[in-house]
Point group: C2
Chain length 564, copies 2
């Protein structure tokens, strides 16, 4: 039986229309750097006008049609917000380009998405210009803000200047009524292995996600707030903040390219945002900066931290030293990104709240979660049984972009047969829905139908006074399938510690069957470009016999083998 | 171009699954009255189990199939919450019956909806039993809680006892995956004229509305809160609170049949809810009760008031005397009901906030509003130009239930040709989206392409020291289409006031062209059963010549006519 309700699609043009009228006085403030004439301010109403002008320009001057991809290589600023709304609202697809990617990946991504237009901040022309000869689908370059346009001389695509392109065009646009499941925006994941994978967000997924961001148990800001999205707009739609703020009139302070601790402290002091969102390394830098050169950041009430786990010590420092509540969130490009947020349950004392606050957080009603267990079933949500996290929901990816004209692709290692996203994260979920992640699935040791957490073994090993660093990886084992290999970097003053000592030390901290039999001393743990342990290298060193592996077993009973 | 996002329907079973697991410890507390053993408590987890048992019983024992209507004639209590989730989640349609309706209307509504089952609180059997012979589609009566079941002896439908029906059935149910546009629940409007009209909510509309209720700028509660929905569950889904709370774990305090000021004060003092929702008359009664017999209601932080406008004096009294912030909301059965909420914009002083707080409030992003102007176009949102409010959005009705097997109906006076809901309310909207209602459309005087607010003329007239009551109605006019007729009740000690005096008094307060030419003295203003001015009666008295009408014009110049 059909309902009698109106069938109104959830589209980004609705958010734009609302934000630019009902919240027309709210502002996007773009930081322009120290010594500049001061920050640039634009109201939501002006952004609405200019988004209409941009849409006219893209359609009438550049020939952008339905479903065409429009790339952006831009910092967080008001013009990027204009593109965020204009491009999807006119029926085209916004493709945010990650300016931190290696050139080869950028080229691959632009060609794979078949971007017809790229909007680029003038300051990023030195990055884009050398790639242009290889960006075959690109027909138009639109330069936003000052930059060395001589770099574009003689390039194949037509070059336009953003303000000149908008000038004189109508400030209203008859936004088409789209299907809410139409593509609105896309973003590629930059996995360390394999080709980048494109996630194509729909109007519906972005709209629902923005409602969730505005729910009390997510970020829940009001138009009395101003948020500072330090998280780049090319990272998962800046966590949905531009869309969420246009729904509720929350002001935005945009850092543009000034992402260093000094300018961040300066803009917080000057513009007094109440909320900010960024990855932990940004906050670590800001804390150090503030210790060095105190600034008034008392306007900040809450910061949302995501991207990777935030150490409890840092969360406490923020609260105790600066009165800022840190709220943990977990998500990924494939989850829009809002998966969990670590608001503690009601009715607890501040100290009781900490175990919840340092977890990844709780799932909202729209995100279902299950744990694929080592035995092929699903682990109970008891806070103890680990599994690979799989999620399902209206803003969760169910496939990747297959390329222009191609069908979406659903790699088996990324999606379950019944369509859930395999996150690649291993962890536990409590009965009341709090997620704690322990490992990446690829780093878990699958030993005889049980999983051994490499991270847990590493942390336990690194607690030993003689150990500087330790990395544990899975290696093939005839009997158990996989077993852990412990690779250890000893401190300079480690003394006469033996493998047996280390194994006994571990034995007091983890279950007996998890104890590694294979041990190797290494000079240092190989690391990726972003400083994470590069376990691929260790596994391949083991496979090729490049590690000096000692076997140590409980029943050994022989002489203690020296670690060094 | 299709997105790569999962296509997951927004259904009530998702809300139930989430609430009964992630928020399984949250509680529904049902008040059982003074002197009773104490309130009854049930966790969301228990409600989830019992909803599954109820669904099994309805399907296996009562034969309820997809789309069958299951009526409820119940107070606000935990069992009603169970039905709220079980019935739609199994694919049937929950039909909440308004126990305050006249018997004739109840009979009409049950037959029109073709309810196969009615769940009835035992305390309401005296109301239901006499109607049963005329409720032809009803096959099963399920009695919930104690009551005089002898009243059902010999009745045609089969009679069941709720707890016996649930006992021993499985506490899990394989909820079907429904289309989110399927019917979930229905509710009839009880207009004073014409037949009741059925609004059929979809899973989608209820889900989106619940997300909106949880947004900061609506009610925005967390699981540290407990809400007291005094608004009945047969009034527009208790304003969406049962669905919203299961999304976020907010506790519910349910008043059952104890809706008088005394028990309400008692349950607030005892159970300490932080939020409550009701119509103004309830709060007026509570304020009087508290003045008479003080109680500790300090737990209440906010009350949401809707259903009709709340006087500023009452809002201030609540705040000043009890520290409770009153938040105004506007909506109707056709709007699910959340239309506007009167949160003021950010950055104002408390006194600056008042004009916003006494307005009907601001529209959320999902509800578009326009004002159908007297000239046939749409009035600007300038805070001054009136029009009939029309709304559009994913939880706004676009038609009424046409009856079992019939197509939905779209009466022209209720829906615009392009599908917007005509609310029947006249008002203005400010540039920043705040709505102020002034009249019901049927009470507005359409004079020469302009509208005259009868309410404004009445309020101005009633400010005259000689006037006890005044009602202004539209009467036909050859030249202007309609003109105002002022009917006046004078105070006992009114003295020698003349119509010219009254007209001159009005002339200082409203535009000259709005001044009535037709005046009549009456003994009292006829009223409806709920105490509102019954203007139908006045219009028909005028039409039949039963009023003693005096014509007074500005250019008259003759002797002043005595009003009495």
């Amino acid at each position: 039986m059909l309902s009698t309700m109106q069938d109104v699609p959830l589209t980004i043009s609705r958010i734009l229309r609302h934000g630019s009228t009902v919240h027309g006085r709210s502002q996007v403030t773009t930081w322009t750097g120290e010594g500049a004439p001061g920050p640039h301010r634009r109201t939501f109403a002006e952004i609405g006008d200019r988004a209409a002008q941009l849409a006219h320009a893209l359609r009438d001057e550049l020939g952008v049609a339905r479903d065409d991809r429009v790339g952006t290589l831009m910092w967080n600023n008001a013009e990027h917000v204009e593109a965020y709304f204009a491009v999807p609202s006119m029926g085209a697809v916004l493709h945010t380009l990650n300016l931190r990617l290696p050139a080869e990946q950028l080229v691959w991504i632009v060609n794979h998405a078949a971007d017809r237009v790229i909007l680029v901040n003038g300051s990023l022309l030195p990055l884009l210009a050398p790639l242009l000869p290889r960006l075959e689908p690109v027909e138009h370059i639109v330069v936003v803000g000052p930059g060395d346009t001589s770099l574009l001389e003689g390039c194949r695509p037509a070059v336009h200047e953003y303000e000149a392109l908008l000038a004189g065009r109508p400030a209203t646009y008859e936004w088409p009524e789209l299907d809410e499941r139409d593509a609105a925006a896309m973003c590629y994941t930059s996995g360390t292995t394999g080709e980048p994978k494109g996630v194509v967000y729909s109007h519906r997924s972005i709209y629902l996600h923005a409602m969730q961001v505005n729910m009390t148990q997510s970020m829940g800001l009001t138009d009395a707030d101003t948020t500072l999205p330090v998280v780049p707009m090319f990272h998962v739609n800046a966590w949905g903040l531009p869309h969420a703020t246009f729904m509720t009139g929350v002001g935005m302070l945009m850092p543009d390219r000034f992402l260093q601790p000094g300018p961040l402290a300066e803009m917080i002091e000057a513009e007094r945002p109440t909320h900010a969102a960024a990855v932990p390394t940004i906050w670590q830098g800001l804390l150090a900066e503030l210790a060095d050169k105190p600034r008034d950041i008392s306007s900040l009430k809450t910061v949302t931290i995501g991207g990777s786990a935030c150490p409890e010590a840092m969360m406490r420092a923020f609260e105790e030293e600066h009165g800022v509540e840190v709220c943990h969130a977990w998500g990924m490009t494939e989850t829009s990104p809002l998966g969990t947020v670590s608001h503690p349950p009601g009715g607890l004392t501040p100290e009781e709240e900490w175990p919840y606050r340092v977890s990844q957080g709780r799932f909202p009603a729209s995100v279902e979660a299950r744990l694929a267990a080592p035995d092929g079933g699903f682990a109970p949500h008891d806070g103890e049984s680990p599994g690979e996290l799989e999620v399902r929901g209206p803003w969760i990816a169910g496939a990747y972009f297959g390329g222009a004209g191609a069908e979406p692709v659903r790699p088996e290692d990324k999606f379950s047969p019944d369509g859930w996203l395999r996150t690649g994260d291993v962890g536990v979920i409590t009965a009341d829905g709090y997620l704690t992640l322990t490992d990446r699935a690829k780093d878990v040791i699958k030993s005889g139908g049980e999983w051994i957490s490499s991270v847990e073994l590493e942390n336990a090993l690194m607690a030993h006074e003689a150990v500087a660093e330790a990395a544990v990886v899975a290696v093939p084992d005839d009997k158990w399938g996989e077993r852990p290999l412990a690779t250890v970097v000893l401190k300079e003053d480690a003394g006469d510690v033996t493998y047996e000592d280390l194994r006994a030390f571990l034995g007091e901290r983890v279950a007996r069957w998890q104890l590694p039999e294979r041990w190797a001393l290494i000079e240092s743990v190989p690391k990726t470009s972003v400083g994470k342990f590069d376990k691929k290298v260790l596994r391949s060193q083991y496979a090729s016999g490049d590690l000096d592996v000692t076997h140590v077993t409980a029943s050994g009973g022989g002489p203690a083998r020296p670690a060094r």
